[in-house]
């Protein structure tokens, strides 16, 4: 029982990331009809927004500290973040400590901007082109984006810690009445899950309750008709792309403390997110979210020791196996609509 709960919890954070990326992929696919291979790169850029902000906040200048001496007895040169000069040491430390959550504020406009630029500059020229061309050009873009990040940040993962308030772990077992230390779960992962749930809820609420969302949903159903109604659907779709980029970016920002970002993390997640989208059903937002969590938890179950004894390596392939089975037996995925991407 404890083990089961633990695996479900373990699956949730990865599932959250899958769900967020898959949600964005589906938004783009559903509204624009474009298969975006560069979506993983947006996730990665989000993560690097957090890295960049962290670096900016810790930009330092060197001052001579007379109170400390090095081993030769000379005054020590210490690096002092500029932040201390503005806010004082205590407040400065807090800000640096909270750099990842603060990055969200930076990442939203940045990612929106990148998303809109991408759609206007590149993707819109590919609406009429075959899906293969869309895959290829966004694949090229993904390579370019990740190489740019690699050029500026190097190839190694860059640790970006969560605020110290969240570094510990929460003893779930104790809270649920089991023995202590059986089910412990890092706080940050709880935060990540809660954050993902909020974002997903916000996106759905936005689509459900705003006029904008209504038009977009209508556009996902039948793009041409909405266009005929005189609604400027293209501009809304551009904004939609920005939104999807922001969702992916935020997923990336908050993921940095869980996994130190590197330049190819986007590609790693992208392949799995496609699997998620396919399992959930191409063009189905609910399906993407459901499948994201489902597959995250499934993957975590598959990596249990007991399972691996019976079926070694299952954790490595479970998602692909599920995708293959789903595609062959239920080609529309768990919640896919009729007529989406069927040829």
């Amino acid at each position: 029982m404890e083990a089961l709960i633990l695996q479900v919890l373990n699956g949730l954070d990865k599932g959250s990331a899958y769900a967020l990326i898959a949600l964005g992929l589906t938004l783009i696919f559903g509204t624009l009809g474009v298969v975006n291979f560069a979506h993983g790169a947006l996730f990665m850029i989000g993560a690097f927004c957090a890295v960049t902000l962290n670096r900016l906040l810790t930009l330092s200048h060197i001052v001579v500290d007379e109170t400390q001496k090095d081993f030769l007895g000379n005054p020590l040169n210490v690096e002092v973040p500029y932040l201390y000069d503005f806010f004082g040491q205590a407040a400065g430390d807090v800000i640096i400590d909270w750099s990842v959550p603060i990055s969200i504020l930076v990442a939203i406009p940045v990612m929106m901007l990148i998303g809109v630029a991408m759609e206007r500059g590149l993707i819109k020229h590919f609406y009429k082109r075959p899906h293969a061309d869309q895959i290829l050009v966004t694949f090229g873009l993904a390579i370019v984006l990740q190489e740019i990040i690699k050029y500026f940040y190097g190839a190694n993962p860059i640790p970006t810690p969560a605020p110290s308030a969240f570094t510990g772990s929460f003893d779930f077992g104790a809270a649920l009445g089991f023995d202590p230390n059986l089910i412990i779960y890092p706080y940050w992962r709880l935060v990540y899950f809660a954050f993902a749930a909020v974002i997903i809820g916000a996106v759905f609420a936005f689509l459900q309750f705003t006029t904008f969302g209504m038009v977009v949903r209508a556009g996902m159903q039948d793009r041409e008709t909405v266009g005929l109604l005189g609604i400027h659907i293209d501009r809304r779709f551009t904004i939609m792309f920005g939104l999807a980029a922001a969702v992916a970016g935020l997923a990336g920002v908050m993921y940095t403390p869980i996994n130190s970002p590197n330049y190819h993390m986007g590609m790693d997640f992208l392949v799995l997110s496609f699997v998620v989208v396919v399992v959930g059903g191409m063009g189905s937002l609910g399906g993407a979210v459901l499948a994201g969590f489902l597959l995250g938890v499934l993957e975590s179950f598959a990596s249990m020791g007991q399972v691996l004894e019976v079926l070694p390596g299952l954790n490595q392939v479970i998602l692909y196996v599920v995708a293959i089975i789903v595609l062959l037996t239920r080609p529309r995925g768990l919640m896919g609509r009729r007529g989406v991407m069927e040829d």
């Binding site: 293969a132 390579i143 490595q316 692909y320 595609l327 062959l328």
Partner: protein, 402 residues
């Protein structure tokens, strides 16, 4: 000639001449000159040209003709590599059995993958192949370690059985050979300041590529090839003409898988090692890039694309700041710094960036690849262009329609 029409035969002769003379014209710079680093005529690089050429020719039979975009072809190349290395470990270091087994294993593997993946088309097909390839990659790294060597990969060892070969003396290493002719052996020809290296491994791989290229011409020009092009052009209509699409696409898939097997086997023949990284999906992406860059659906495009990408990889990634500074030595200091710092991100370690950009530009502006570019340039010079029989598939149809 060889059952080819005159034009195709000329193309084959042209490719044959280029591959046979490659060690000479790929080394245009004398050894001592500062430009010698741009010589591409060393065996290791030339082998990669032709081996990836084979891979891309095969991929083109699937993607170029039928339009089915596979994102998992590296899995077949990887499977072929493992098969070849096992043959070298168990049977003999002679490359013939190794390559034969590579083809068989890759063919069977692609038959299984294709049988399932081809039940879907379009984006779903791409994702299915991608899923299969990633699955193979993950398994090769984990559970299948006894067969694949996991992270360390496989190499021939001194104590391998090698039933057909004699016992190796202590200190001797097992070398891949063709009936005793070692892959690594070369003949260096020095002419004046130039040195040309004629390598056994390269010539064997090049002959394989010529055979592969010849077979691909025959496939392109066969009724079978016509059906494959018809799949790309209008798959639905094909059923109403009495043709069952699935066996044709499956055959194309398996043929292209077998080409990947040959490439995998030859890689092992050259470097006698195999590892899972050859199956990673970026490796599948690479062959897609090669085919598109050269021109999907054209005969010679994929070979060209493979050569371009491998040359770029080797040469561009060698350029460093010192070289750049030397290039722009003519410029005033300030301008020199600017030029160097502008170009620097695109060379050396940044060559992937260049690759990505070139690829995007090709997809955006030249969906038919370099071959389409050549045609357009050719069209500028001679308005009275005749019918174009090389670019048979859809990409170049606007030109053909004039």
């Amino acid at each position: 000639m060889l059952s080819l029409n005159a034009r195709d035969f000329q193309l084959l002769l042209f490719v044959a001449a280029i591959t046979m003379l490659a060690p000479i014209f790929l080394n245009p710079f004398p050894v001592d000159s500062s430009l010698a680093q741009f010589n591409g005529g060393y065996p290791d690089l030339m082998q990669r040209f032709v081996i990836f050429g084979i891979f891309a020719i095969g991929f083109n039979i699937l993607f170029g003709l039928t339009g089915y975009l596979s994102f998992g072809h590296a899995a077949f190349l990887g499977a072929g590599s493992y098969a070849a290395i096992w043959m070298m470990k168990l049977l003999t270091m002679n490359i013939i059995p190794a390559i034969i087994l590579s083809i068989i294993v890759a063919g069977l593997f692609s038959l299984a993958v294709g049988f399932i993946s081809l039940r879907r088309s379009g984006i779903y097909f791409s994702i299915l192949t991608l899923a299969f390839a990633q699955m193979s990659y993950s398994l090769a790294y984990s559970v299948l370690t006894p067969i694949t060597g996991g992270e360390t990969g496989l190499q021939p060892k001194l104590n391998d059985p090698r039933i057909l070969d004699g016992e190796l003396a202590a200190g001797e290493t097992a070398r891949a050979n063709l009936f005793g002719l070692e892959m690594g052996s070369s003949y260096d020809l020095a002419v004046g300041g130039w040195v040309f290296t004629f390598n056994v491994g390269y010539y064997i791989a090049a002959i394989c590529m010529l055979l592969a290229f010849y077979a691909s011409i025959r496939i392109f020009r066969s009724p079978f090839g016509l059906m494959l092009r018809a799949v790309k052009s209008n798959q639905n209509r094909l059923g109403y003409t009495g043709v069952s699409t699935r066996p044709y696409t499956l055959a194309a898939f398996v043929i292209s898988g077998m080409y990947a097997g040959v490439a995998g086997g030859l890689m092992v023949a050259m470097d006698t090692q195999a590892g899972a990284e050859r199956m990673f999906w970026t490796a599948s992406g690479e062959v897609v890039l090669m085919t598109i860059l050269g021109g999907a659906g054209t005969l010679i495009g994929p070979v060209l694309g493979a050569g371009m990408i491998k040359y770029m990889e080797n040469i561009i990634s060698k350029i460093n700041t010192t070289i750049l500074e030397a290039w722009f030595a003519w410029a005033p200091d300030g301008l020199q710094d600017v030029l160097v710092s502008v170009i620097y991100p695109f060379v050396g370690k940044g060559w992937h960036l260049t690759l990505g950009l070139v690829f995007m530009l090709v997809v955006i502006f030249l969906p038919g690849g370099l071959m389409e570019g050549f045609e357009k340039i050719g069209g500028l010079f001679s308005r009275k262009k005749g019918k174009n029989s090389d670019s048979v598939a859809g990409s170049a149809s606007p030109a053909a329609a004039e």
